[in-house]
Symmetry: C2
Subunit: 212 residues, 2 copies
């Protein structure tokens, strides 16, 4: 992460918590200043308005998610590590969830976010492809190239809309257990391609009983 | 559809075209009046602002999509009708696509839309369940109840985020051929559960060569 003054760090941490919990569109920079206990002018001295704060937060998110997503591209994971790995992705998204509850509006309002978001989506697809290719070459999965591509796209889509689906369908704040559900729903998409059906279904069952 | 004056119908048709093609957030009620060639005051006499126009359009959309989505719940479809049926759903969504490119912002701004959207999402899940149950009871699909529920949820999610995924990933206006791709991506999610794998893969291949 970039080095920042204590005040800048405090502004970002407070903004992230407020955006995540109250919704980004409900929070103004005056709200942020008031929660921290500084004047709006002082806040403005550090960040010129809310969109600049959002861009700084996106920088943090981008750096972290890029590291996470690149891991299995750089060095294939063992099968047993996949669940933990998926959990880390969903947790990362959950930690910056305000970006995922209103993407279309954000990229419309802050044009530089559009390319950044598209690049992360493309990276998600590559990550999913790497995971699937490894499981395939290890002999666990059974599909053709077209099915693999389609499945990778679907997993990337699931990472991206998992929170928004919950919002639209249930209209409630996502509980932290939604992370487990996100992981589970990813695994359920992979199981039909599993060769040793019994073995994997049993693993999935275990995961489900443990977590969901 | 509710009976409306010629001017009201014209306002709605023009608004729908502008929202779909230019993006709802880029169009004001003054823009709409100007394209039709009436005064903003005249427009305001018919609809009190843009959100009232949006609600009237949603009423039309809701009536049509409810009819479409209820069809297989009321009377199960033959397998051969499924493709055409899916095509009709995607086409219906495409015709009112501005609702689907920015749902989170719309339901945030117009609270009555939130419940309406959630209800349509719930209906989509029921429709997908009906389609899958029929294919299951006809002996075409092989899955357990949990997998069926998860697949139905995923199909409903796909209907809902299909356009937004394209927007975020590619940043271009969706071409009409995106409808074929939406149908194809739905079918690809069902194929892994197909019992007679060969037969269905061949059908899918035919569909893909024909359409995508």
């Amino acid at each position: 992460m970039p080095e920042r003054s204590a005040t800048k760090s405090k502004i970002l941490a407070t903004s992230l918590a407020l955006f995540n919990n109250e919704g980004e569109s409900n929070i103004s920079s005056v709200d942020i200043a008031s929660v921290i206990g500084i004047s709006p002018g002082n806040l403005y001295y550090h960040y010129k308005g809310k969109d600049e704060i959002i861009l700084a937060l996106f920088e943090d998110f981008e750096e972290e998610i890029r590291q996470v997503l690149s891991a299995p591209i750089n060095a294939p994971l063992n099968m047993a590590d996949n669940w933990v790995y998926l959990y880390i992705i969903f947790e990362e998204i959950f930690d910056f969830r305000f970006f995922y509850r209103n993407q279309a509006e954000l990229v419309g309002r802050i044009p530089t976010l559009r390319t950044k978001f598209a690049n992360i989506l493309a990276l998600k697809e590559r990550t999913a492809l790497s995971l699937l290719s490894k499981l395939h070459s290890d002999g666990h999965l059974h599909f053709d190239e077209g099915e693999k591509q389609a499945l990778a796209g679907r997993i990337a889509q699931h990472f991206t809309f998992w929170l928004q689906y919950h919002d639209l369908r249930y209209g409630t704040s996502p509980p932290k257990s939604l992370i487990d559900q996100g992981v589970f729903m990813t695994l359920v998409q992979i199981t039909p391609y599993w060769k040793d059906e019994k073995g994997y279904a049993a693993l999935l069952q275990e995961f489900a009983e443990d977590k969901v």
